[in-house]
Symmetry: C2
Subunit: 311 residues, 2 copies
């Protein structure tokens, strides 16, 4: 894989595990990743209602593939879907495994990594694999929801009788306790919530409906209204699936505009997990009306670029 | 010097040289810096009217002091103040030498480095030294303008008769062709210009007067109005000398507000040279109403922190 700037491309990988209650297991899953030289764990979050954990890590192509395979092995050994219960749908112990391009990498690179990891997860671990999003081999498997329909309990039966449900790699029978892994490639995703100074959920719902792509709003935006019971406020909860096409500052501006039409102000907003630096720089350039602001205008970025070019 | 985060502190150094016309000399000055292992040149700018060049570099404490001394030596050998002419006042071939704290460093560290560099510039190179700003040894030498009053031509006479004009290190006679170096320590400075959609210089002047600290405006802001002849517009040209006390987004907001009172919009703005990442992050958090946004919320920053903590 060629770097686009003379540096090794860096990839992010965001495994979703079907365990969010037993912290010992979650820590063991994280250790299976961080034990791989060059795999850096950036973030970890668990939800006990969902009974699900998401670990974000990054590294070179070899490090992320190796760590992804080891994470799948650890999940197979530690999570038993025949007894696992939670409100979040799941098909596998390691349920979803997206590869994401970071510095010097593009989406096509991630498709290659997803397929490489998928082959190994079947051949080395005996867990069948479905491919989704940019890594999908069939158009009807692009959307994660479509691949996962029926979940573990439904699909383990269907694959035995319906050949159209067979995994892309391995199977057709699912792994008896670990199910199947849904491996994919996608652009970076920003999970972003805006809290409104109102307790009226209808307003958050109306704004979510107005901005989300699926109802004709802004491209690459998923949104829903949520009540924040403990604070007596409501929130527009969003996923921005292409922040370069629909930037975070544009979303903020539009939500603020729509809220004002309802006579409501924005209380605050929050980024869940991490966001790419380019999203910050794009917002900065926009608000200050800087026509030519780039990462290289930042002292620390220049220092890092120079340090790396010397090593 | 102790790091505040387990990492080596990084310092910036911004030598101002009294040569901005002969590019060969400027390149030689830059090479005297970049030849020092660990000294990274971030930025260079020359002005022929001013006959002056500013080179911004960074590195560990040892690297920046070594590079600063070598830059003083190169300037002594390549610049002759007895023949140098320009509109910008100057006392030395290497005229001003401020040390600035970057990551993991504080201003007090820079005072130590300034004094260490100053001792060597006299003992090894025979150029006397004045200390200014945070490195000043006398209250009447805090301001650069006060130290440089009389310039090379005036001070080389005064030091011989007026003991109160004597350098802080070495002398009292100035170096016959290289004058003296004014060495200091200061916080990072953001050079920032806002262009207005008007050709009326009186409006830019009025806004500059309203915002600058010296006329009771915002703390740590220097500002003046300038005409941009080629574009038929005017500009508020500023130095922000403590961006944490008076952030760049606050300055932008106040200039926009004052311009609107004159019925004028902001055309665009520009950062001259480099600015610290924290200034970008502070603006991002402000505009998006993010109560807890930190550098660690950015993927690339997390990656760098983790990479460095492993090496």
């Amino acid at each position: 894989m060629e770097s686009r700037r003379g540096l090794s491309p860096i990839f992010e990988c965001v495994p979703n595990f079907s365990e969010g209650r037993d912290l010992e297991i979650v820590v063991a899953l994280e250790k299976s990743i961080s034990a791989v030289p060059g795999a850096l764990v950036l973030h970890r979050t668990s939800d006990s209602d969902h009974n699900r954990s998401v670990i974000t890590f990054a590294g070179s192509e070899d490090a992320v593939v190796e760590a992804a395979v080891r994470a799948a092995a650890a999940a197979r050994d530690l999570i038993d879907l025949t007894v696992q219960r939670g409100v979040h749908p799941r098909l596998g112990a390691l349920d979803v495994l997206p590869f994401v391009p970071l510095e010097g990498a593009v989406l096509a690179d991630c498709v290659v990594l997803a397929h490489r990891a998928g082959e190994r997860i079947w051949s080395e671990l005996g867990i069948p694999v479905y491919y989704y999003q940019a890594a999908a081999l069939r158009p009807d498997r692009t959307r994660l929801e479509d691949v996962r329909r029926g979940q573990f309990e439904g699909l383990r039966e269907q694959v035995l009788s319906d050949v159209s449900k067979a995994p892309d790699v391995g199977g057709p029978a699912l792994h008896p306790t670990a199910g199947a892994v849904i491996v994919g490639a996608r652009k970076i995703l920003i999970a972003y919530n805006i809290t409104l100074k109102t307790s009226d959920l209808a307003i958050a719902n109306a704004i979510a409906r107005a901005i989300r792509a699926s109802s004709g709003g802004m491209q690459e935006v998923k949104a829903l209204g949520l009540p924040l019971e403990s604070r007596g406020l409501v929130q527009v909860s969003m996923n921005l699936t292409d922040f370069e096409q629909t930037p975070i500052h544009v979303v903020f501006g539009e939500v603020a505009r729509l809220a004002a039409l309802h006579g409501v102000e924005i209380e605050e907003s929050e980024v869940i997990g991490l966001l790419p630096r380019r999203a910050v720089n794009m917002a900065f350039a926009h608000w200050l009306k800087l026509p030519s602001f780039e990462a290289g205008n930042v002292i620390e970025t220049r220092l890092e670029q120079l340090s790396r070019s010397r090593t």
